[in-house]
């Protein structure tokens, strides 16, 4: 189902946290609301599911305005950061809860609970209580509970934040698999760009209460609208330089953005500097190269080069991957 948020404004008291924001999510698409803490991404999510009131603007679920409906009548499934499972109910009761409040009969309820428990692989845990489950298992229960009512939209609020690194990887692909299997339209709130890029069809990057760029991960990475987007995406992060140290100059360009993979010996020579820091990441090594101007360029190289800090190198730039920004930070 198509979701449209049009000219959405949210205020807390006298503080306007989001002003005139618009967002469209196509049917069956999974998008990420990505941004640093306090950018308004969770507020937007809570406004969509009805927990926060929408002060101004319209919210269309498949063309119908639901902005003034309470959350009970919006038919969205939400997974909270701490999963918000009901501690006094078993896993089966937790999953069945949205059906129970709809007064669905027991037999249909159990059938659906079993179906969705199987979908998230927790059939064996149905009689346990949330306290007896691991973080990943709780996450799966929360997902099943959100899915069981066959919602129009699946909303995920930082679902992976409370998991350890290994589980996070596992659940990342698991959530994407579930979304694709069910064909649901989903919105993921996260501050982790890797999560957003790996799980979603499109990313809405937010900053200071507005969407800075809304695009596919690839496009956004390759062609960021401005310096904020370029700096937020990419790990290890991009380096911004004035251009003086690189021997580059173009009219109107005040900053050059160079990603670590766009600088290295494979691109010839031309930029020389001293290695100040080497970070071994196993498959790759990350180098900090200090230019004579004092600016730092990062480069990522396959492991095993044997280059140590203090070495002076003369590497080249991939000129086609250079990003150019004007004084307002807009990409040229």
């Amino acid at each position: 189902m198509q979701l449209d948020l049009i000219d959405f404004t949210k205020r807390f008291g006298n503080t306007t946290v989001i002003e005139n924001m618009s967002l469209s999510v196509h049917s069956g698409e999974m998008i990420a609301l990505l941004g640093p803490s306090g950018c308004g991404k969770s507020t937007t999510l809570f406004a969509i599911c009805g927990i926060h009131r929408i002060d101004e603007g319209r919210l269309l679920f498949g063309g119908t305005d639901v902005a003034h409906l309470p959350s009970q009548s919006r038919n969205v499934g939400v997974v909270f950061q701490n999963y918000a499972l009901y501690p006094h109910m078993t896993v089966a009761e937790n999953i069945a809860f949205p059906l129970k409040v709809q007064k669905m009969n027991r037999i249909d309820r159990e059938k659906l609970v079993r179906k969705y428990a199987a979908l998230v692989h927790i059939e064996a845990l149905l009689e346990r209580r949330p306290a007896q489950l691991s973080g990943g298992q709780q996450q799966r229960v929360a997902l099943a509970r959100a899915l069981v009512r066959q919602p129009d939209f699946l909303l995920l609020d930082e679902p992976l934040a409370n998991l350890d690194a290994k589980l996070r990887l596992e659940m990342r692909s698991e959530i994407r698999r579930l979304q694709q299997e069910t064909g649901l339209t989903a919105i993921l709130v996260t501050h982790d760009q890797v999560e957003a890029m790996s799980m979603c069809d499109r990313i809405a990057l937010m900053n200071g209460g507005r969407i800075v760029q809304y695009d596919t991960p690839t496009a956004m990475y390759a062609a960021p609208e401005d310096q904020f987007v370029a700096g937020f995406l990419g790990n290890p992060p991009i380096s911004f330089l004035s251009g003086k140290g690189l021997g580059l100059a173009a009219p109107g360009v005040t900053q050059y953005g160079i990603r670590p993979e766009a600088f290295g010996p494979q691109f010839g020579e031309g930029v020389s500097g001293r290695i100040t820091f080497v970070e071994t990441q196993g498959r790759e090594d990350l180098f900090d190269v200090q230019l004579p101007t004092g600016e730092i360029l990062r480069s990522i190289q396959p492991a095993g080069s044997g280059i140590t800090p203090g070495t002076t190198v003369d590497w080249g730039l991939a000129h086609d991957q250079l990003l150019r920004f004007d004084q307002d930070g807009t990409r040229l």
Binding site: V78, A84, Y86, H88, P98, V101, R149
Partner: protein, 433 residues
């Protein structure tokens, strides 16, 4: 083997003294009094020995032979040397000498005869009635109505009357006016129909008040939870008033409210109802008043406990239930109430114990009335032992009433300890060891 920490014990000792003095000692004393027949009549110290008509009646009931009773009752007057000496001191030696001459060694069964003998003295007749009565008393040699300070004196006097020694012990026991050990209080409790009534009243009182205070406390906690913060605090403060108000003042307001010239009567008067005392009109009125008065106090306590328990539920859980489609009522029924089961159990247990023993609000409101319809067990104990209309305060029986409460309280506490698994709560956490 652990060394005894004397310093720790020394620091603890004030608390131990307090516990012994204010918690242990009352229980021990209650147990002690419960097995005595102490009352206003016996006093709480020792007693004297006194035979009077009442004693004789109860001795007769206990089957003392009739001739012995008569012997004890009569006794009469004897003109002996001792009496004559006293007469000489009270009047003149001549009077005593004449008395000795005419009636020396004589015995009179009746006071009338004794007085006539004194009146008919030829030379020294005692004419004034008052003097004659006083003089007659000097020759009185009956054991009846005479106080003896200890048992030896009483035994001597008893021997003088010529009572057979076989019954001396029985009569001595009957004549003793002090308290004695007895188990009669307990058997009396089980025999009296009124105690059954008090027990039933207590059960009714505890059940109704508990139901009201838990139910109303929950209602207040849940409704104020959904109010904006400022309003909620105001409401809670208002509902907390009954608990912090002095009981006398609080109940006084209830009495104003329900008096036959009070608010309710005046108000209902506008609708043509004749004024009446709404608290004491019938036992139904009295029970409603008692339950409401105690229930409001109890519910304010429940409200505070339940409110904080509700606020301890993570917000995200409530939000989750809302997006899961639960209405307010479903949220209360399926999410909030199940998570309040511990506070509810706690309040129930705590209130049961305090309701069993507390009677001050009933005492101030209805004083057990009308009749004895709102007399609960603890109030009966108070009335029996410390304040009753008849004036004979039966400390022993009252203590027996109280002892039943002590035993019930102990049993209930043991049950609650098990229920709450206190042992587990106070074991050292594993992380420390």
């Amino acid at each position: 083997m652990r060394r005894v920490n004397w310093l720790g014990l020394a620091f603890l000792s004030p608390a131990l003294v307090m516990v012994a003095l204010f918690f242990l000692l009352p229980v021990v004393l209650t147990g002690f009094f419960a097995f005595t027949n102490m009352s206003t009549a016996t006093g709480v110290t020792g007693g004297e020995y006194l035979l009077n008509t009442a004693t004789l009646r109860s001795l007769a009931d206990d089957g003392l032979p009739k001739d012995m009773l008569e012997k004890l009752a009569s006794g009469g007057y004897r003109v002996d040397a001792e009496g004559l000496a006293a007469l000489a001191a009270a009047t003149t030696a001549a009077t005593a000498a004449e008395m000795d001459r005419l009636h020396g060694g004589a015995e009179f069964a009746e006071r009338r005869d004794m007085e006539r003998a004194l009146k008919d003295l030829r030379d020294n007749a005692i004419r004034k009635t008052r003097e004659r009565k006083a003089a007659a008393d000097l020759f009185k040699r009956s054991i009846l109505n005479e106080r003896f300070a200890d048992e030896a004196q009483f035994a001597a006097a008893l021997a003088e009357t010529g009572i057979a020694p076989t019954h001396a012990a029985e009569i001595t026991a009957g004549a003793y006016t002090g308290w004695a050990w007895t188990t009669e209080n307990v058997s009396l409790l089980f025999a009296l129909p009124s105690t059954l009534r008090y027990a039933a009243n207590t059960a009714l009182y505890v059940t109704l008040t508990l139901a009201f205070s838990v139910g109303f406390g929950l209602f207040l906690a849940i409704t104020t939870f959904y109010l904006p913060k400022g309003q909620a605090t105001t409401f809670r403060a208002i509902w907390f008033l009954p608990r912090i108000l002095p009981p006398v003042l609080y109940v006084m307001m209830w009495r104003w409210f329900t008096w036959d010239t009070g608010f309710l009567a005046t108000f209902s008067g506008y609708f043509g109802m004749s004024p009446k005392n709404w608290m004491l009109d019938t036992s139904y009125h009295a029970w409603t008043a008692v339950v409401l008065i105690n229930g409001f106090v109890g519910s304010s306590m429940g409200m505070i406990i339940f409110s904080s328990a509700i606020r301890a539920i993570p917000t995200s859980m409530l939000l989750a239930s809302e997006v899961d489609g639960a209405s307010r009522w479903q949220q209360v029924r399926w999410i909030i109430l199940p998570q309040l089961s511990w506070p509810i159990l706690f309040i129930t247990c705590y209130q049961t114990l305090s309701l069993l023993t507390s009677f001050e609000y009933i005492l101030l409101a209805t004083d057990g009335g009308p009749g004895r319809s709102t007399e609960v067990w603890s109030l009966a104990a108070y009335h029996t032992a410390l304040n009753n209309y008849g004036g004979n305060l039966e400390y022993g029986l009252g203590a027996a009433f109280a002892l039943v409460l002590v035993v019930m309280g102990l049993l209930a506490s043991l049950l609650y300890f098990r229920l709450f698994n206190f042992k587990r709560l106070i074991t050292t956490p594993l992380i420390e060891g």
